[in-house]
Symmetry: C2
Subunit: 215 residues, 2 copies
């Protein structure tokens, strides 16, 4: 799994997640015409502390003006650059079962900047069906499509039992970023980034909290 770096510093995952958050609120402020915002304001919007905001941003440069705060519009542009959002990423949904279909149908799941370039499955009964703007292709075409059309990200929506086999296939097709929806702990080689969305885990976390209320 890749360790992203900027210059020579390793950036923590938690920092990247917060940048995402800051970006969301900065865009909102920008749309309202706000010229600048302090770390304090960004912190309260995104539920963290001002020191955290300043530290997160400082990993990438000095964007603020002392006594004034951060220039909203310029910071939006800068964070989009940092996150690699100036370009559009092409996403393939792997698995045309219920989750895959839900993701393809509901365009808003995949927000702006991420375009569903195709859907893949191995079930002959599903190949050829269309969902949203995508038609399901045989997964054997994946490697060719990655090279031909250029696919950047795979969204894995397959059963947990086959998830590792499928992820191996996705990786050998040349994809280096994967969003996994299967409730399984997948192994990927160095150089491939994997993120998992695991609803079972989140629900069980809530269950734990309900079962162990604070004193």
């Amino acid at each position: 799994m890749t360790e992203p770096r900027t210059a020579d510093r390793r950036i923590a995952d938690s920092t990247v997640r917060r940048l995402s958050m800051y970006l969301r609120y900065l865009e909102e402020l920008d749309a309202r015409g706000r010229p600048s915002a302090s770390s304090e304001e960004l912190a309260s919007l995104s539920g963290t502390t001002s020191a955290q905001v300043r530290k997160d941003l400082s990993f990438f440069g000095s964007f603020g003006k002392r006594g004034l705060g951060y220039p909203v519009h310029a910071l939006v542009i800068r964070i989009r650059e940092i996150l690699g959002l100036e370009r559009e990423w092409r996403v393939a949904i792997i698995g045309a079962g219920k989750i895959g279909v839900a993701l393809a149908n509901y365009g808003g799941f995949l927000q702006r900047g991420f375009h569903v370039a195709g859907m893949y499955d191995s079930d002959p009964g599903k190949i050829g069906t269309s969902w949203g703007a995508a038609t399901v292709r045989d997964i054997s075409h994946l490697a060719t499509d990655v090279r031909g059309e250029g696919i950047d990200i795979a969204v894995l929506a397959v059963p947990a039992t086959v998830a590792q086999v499928v992820v191996d296939r996705v990786v050998s097709a040349g994809i280096r970023a994967i969003l996994n929806f299967a409730p399984a702990q997948l192994q990927v080689p160095e150089g491939v980034t994997l993120k998992s969305v695991n609803m079972a885990m989140e629900l069980e976390g809530l269950s734990f909290a309900l079962a162990h209320p604070a004193p």
Copy 2:
């Protein structure tokens, strides 16, 4: 937000997430009739280290046998108890838009142990429609239903713009555990646990990794 404790120690969120993971693999081993498993084996299945497995479990007791490992079946039962999974939790889906409907239609999103007790919306055009096993009710009935039927968990599937208002309403209806799908940072009072599933954030994390490949 509640700080879950067991005896007198505060349990880290990361520990609870790993317990979830261990449980998944232990259930699999149990189904295959495996009598015991070492921390080493559990670690390699769930992508962590043996010391981490032993430490995580040690917060809750001594379940292993030295020289032998952990008794699989007994540990499954014990972790289910720890996570509060011996009982069924009643879940309300708030918001009958695309995400809410997808969650309700696809029962498997909400795994066993979590039962969809109802769906709520404020749009008169949606009230009365049925999805999966649930019929959409007016959100003004929520507080009554929480007290009457007992609802434990709210799954928030509303637009980010109204998410804070809705979460305030959910909290004042008496719900103390919330799974949020809106890409917003919500505030909840002490004693209420909130977890968020934020796909935009995950995708942007992948974008960052692709934009900053390891050297």
